[in-house]
């Protein structure tokens, strides 16, 4: 093990895959000569050359679409979207083309393509640079979605995303980029679709992912609540067996995420839990999510909209004591 930041861990995962398979290549804005806005691709162009680490113009729809063509031509493209907010200008390519191609072709073609991006708030980046948009992509059959919460998982999941024969959206959180953690040296791989128990407990199950794992841990500090925390890590495919096992054990569930509540992951999980495990539940399922407003700029406003340890604590109280 060695200590690395989240960014260094992804860099290490990318190098691992670039070394393993010469069909892997990266494309995106400012990733080659500059080394990436957040330094995720630092040093890669020097190591692998400018035909495997390709700088693109600010043309998200164009280069995401090109990644599809390259994937169909036998490559394993990794396209970096500097901010997940910018995915919205490439939505036709992601939703209509990339996600559907394998199905529409009756399985004749595969789309081994990874989109690496970062999202999330808490930095005063305002409404167009602070979003978590994972729910939009969960509405589209054919694309996998992962949201790592720590450096080791970031390395292992980026490797799994690249090796997968399907489109995968890999979402970093901007609050986590500089966070350090122990990362396995050498080959490291975390399978898609496996949730992780962050801590075991008996009083309630908290399902969360990305930066909210940290917020949930902070919310529980000093409360004495014996909560079980699950880091979902992968939202599609979803680790339903892990979720069901935990709900059957604690009989109470809370879902915490940073994206908006309406039609989001919390609402979806709550529906599945109550449909399949209604008799197991001792209390209504709780959801703690962003308010349904755009993300405001000023801190006192952003604090109200995004989940915080204080808001999560209240949500835990609600699930435990009504």
């Amino acid at each position: 093990m060695s200590e690395m930041t989240f960014v260094q861990a992804i860099n290490s995962g990318l190098r691992q895959e670039l070394d393993r398979d010469t069909d892997v290549f990266l494309m995106g804005e400012d990733i080659a000569h500059y080394g990436g806005m957040f330094r995720v691709t630092e040093g890669l162009m020097d190591a692998y050359g400018d035909k495997r680490i390709v700088d693109t113009p600010i043309s998200e729809s164009g280069f995401i679409g090109m990644a599809l063509g390259a994937a169909l031509a036998g490559k394993r493209p990794v396209a970096e979207l500097m901010f997940i907010d910018f995915s919205l200008v490439a939505m036709d390519q992601v939703h209509n083309q990339i996600a559907k191609t394998h199905y529409m072709s009756g399985g004749r073609v595969k789309v081994p393509l990874t989109i690496i991006t970062q999202g999330g708030g808490y930095k005063g980046a305002a409404a167009q640079h602070s979003q978590m948009l994972e729910a939009l992509f969960l509405q589209v059959p054919g694309i996998k979605v992962v949201c790592p919460s720590n450096p080791a998982d970031a390395k292992g999941l980026v490797a799994a995303a690249i090796r997968d024969d399907n489109p995968v959206l890999f979402i970093e959180h901007k609050q986590l980029l500089g966070v350090k953690g122990e990362v396995p040296e050498g080959e490291h791989f975390v399978p898609l679709g496996e949730a992780k128990v962050v801590r075991s407990g008996s009083e309630l199950s908290i399902f969360t992912y990305s930066y909210c794992v940290t917020l949930v841990e902070q919310a529980l500090e000093g409360t004495g609540v014996d909560a079980e925390i699950f880091d979902l890590r992968s939202l599609n495919p979803l680790d339903w067996p892990a979720i069901a096992t935990s709900v059957k054990k604690t009989h109470r569930a809370l879902i915490v995420h940073e994206s908006h509540q309406r039609c989001g992951v919390g609402v979806d999980l709550a529906a599945q839990i109550q449909q399949k495990l209604f008799d197991e539940l001792d209390a209504p399922i709780g959801i703690c999510a962003a308010a349904d407003t755009p993300i405001p700029f000023a801190k006192p406003l952003e604090d109200v909209v995004l989940p915080s340890p204080e808001r999560i604590k209240l949500a835990i109280e609600q699930v435990l004591h009504g």
Binding site: G62, M66, A67, L72, A73, Q93, H102, G107, N166
Partner: protein
């Protein structure tokens, strides 16, 4: 260099397919929209003759002519258009979503301009690996007004990618004439602004289309970058089955272009041999269609498979 008979065969086969599909559409035996390309047959016939089997191709929803001219199996294509289990894509794609990697076909497409990035990306793969496969993407004049396509023009020029942008200028973007949808109707001039070599040809002459595409393919294989070709042509039929095509065009204009139909033009060149070729193709297509109609429908359980590889 293909002969007149080869082009003629491709064009009458395409026309025969469209005639069969029209009959099925009118009798309710064909689901979905039907976008035909009557009058434009010379462009696919000429363009695909200049491509290798392993060259990449993306088309529009009006792309079945290219699909057939690229060499795909007629039976598999017709079965897919009819939504049959034994179709090219097992009935999941339909006419607007035909794929066959064996022939470099990376998709017909339901979104205007949607497949242009795919072709440029396939060309990028060739560029990265130093291969000589080229990509051809075909679209209409209306597609030049899609932002995605401008992004693709720029990147093709920037990296000097082996891609051919083939524009079928049929003077109408769906039902809207060129002069009411383009600030500058000189399409070559617009694309030249990206630093892309441009060429313009008579799209109703398969030999001229072949020449233009052949030259562009040679340039691309030599690493000399992309070419934009504007093939002037005309859709003598409506945009789709419910559009007679007469509300926005005069009968005189349509009649004038019917006279310039590439099929009748080439008939005059070939002479007596034309009739035999046409009959042969009509019979072949009719038999394939009869056989396709008898194929089993997909199993309902198959709807839920192949979301992921």
């Amino acid at each position: 260099m293909p002969q007149a008979e080869d082009f003629y065969r491709q064009m009458v086969r395409l026309r025969a397919v469209e005639n069969e599909l029209t009959k099925l559409s009118q009798t309710g035996q064909l689901r979905g929209s039907l976008h035909l390309c009557q009058g434009q047959e010379a462009v696919p016939a000429g363009a695909c003759a200049a491509l290798r089997k392993d060259d990449y191709l993306t088309c529009t929803y009006r792309g079945h002519g290219y699909v057939l001219a690229k060499g795909l199996d007629l039976d598999l294509v017709l079965r897919e258009i009819l939504g049959k289990a034994s179709g090219l894509c097992k009935g999941k794609g339909g006419k607007m979503h035909l794929f066959d990697p064996e022939f470099g076909l990376l998709g017909t497409n339901g979104i205007v301009g949607g497949g242009v990035g795919t072709a440029v990306g396939a060309a990028l793969a060739s560029w990265i690996d130093g291969k000589d496969q080229v990509a051809l993407t075909v679209f209409g004049d209306g597609t030049l007004n899609q932002g995605h396509v401008s992004e693709c023009f720029n990147m093709a020029a920037l990296y000097k990618l082996p891609v051919i942008f083939l524009c079928e200028n049929n003077l109408y973007a769906e039902m809207t004439p060129l002069e009411r949808s383009h600030g500058n109707t000189d399409l070559c001039a617009r694309v030249a602004g990206f630093g892309i070599k441009t060429d313009k040809c008579d799209g109703n002459d398969p030999f001229l289309v072949y020449d233009a595409v052949h030259k562009a393919v040679e340039r691309a294989r030599k690493g000399e970058g992309p070419t934009f070709i504007e093939a002037m042509t005309y859709r003598t039929i409506g945009h789709y089955q419910a559009d007679p095509g007469t509300q926005y065009r005069t009968p005189e204009e349509i009649a004038q272009w019917k006279e310039k139909s590439p099929i009748s033009k080439l008939e005059k060149v070939i002479g007596n041999a034309a009739e035999a070729i046409r009959e042969e193709e009509e019979n072949r297509v009719s038999e394939a269609m009869q056989s396709a109609l008898k194929q089993p429908d997909p199993s309902p359980t198959h709807a839920l498979t192949e979301v992921f590889a």
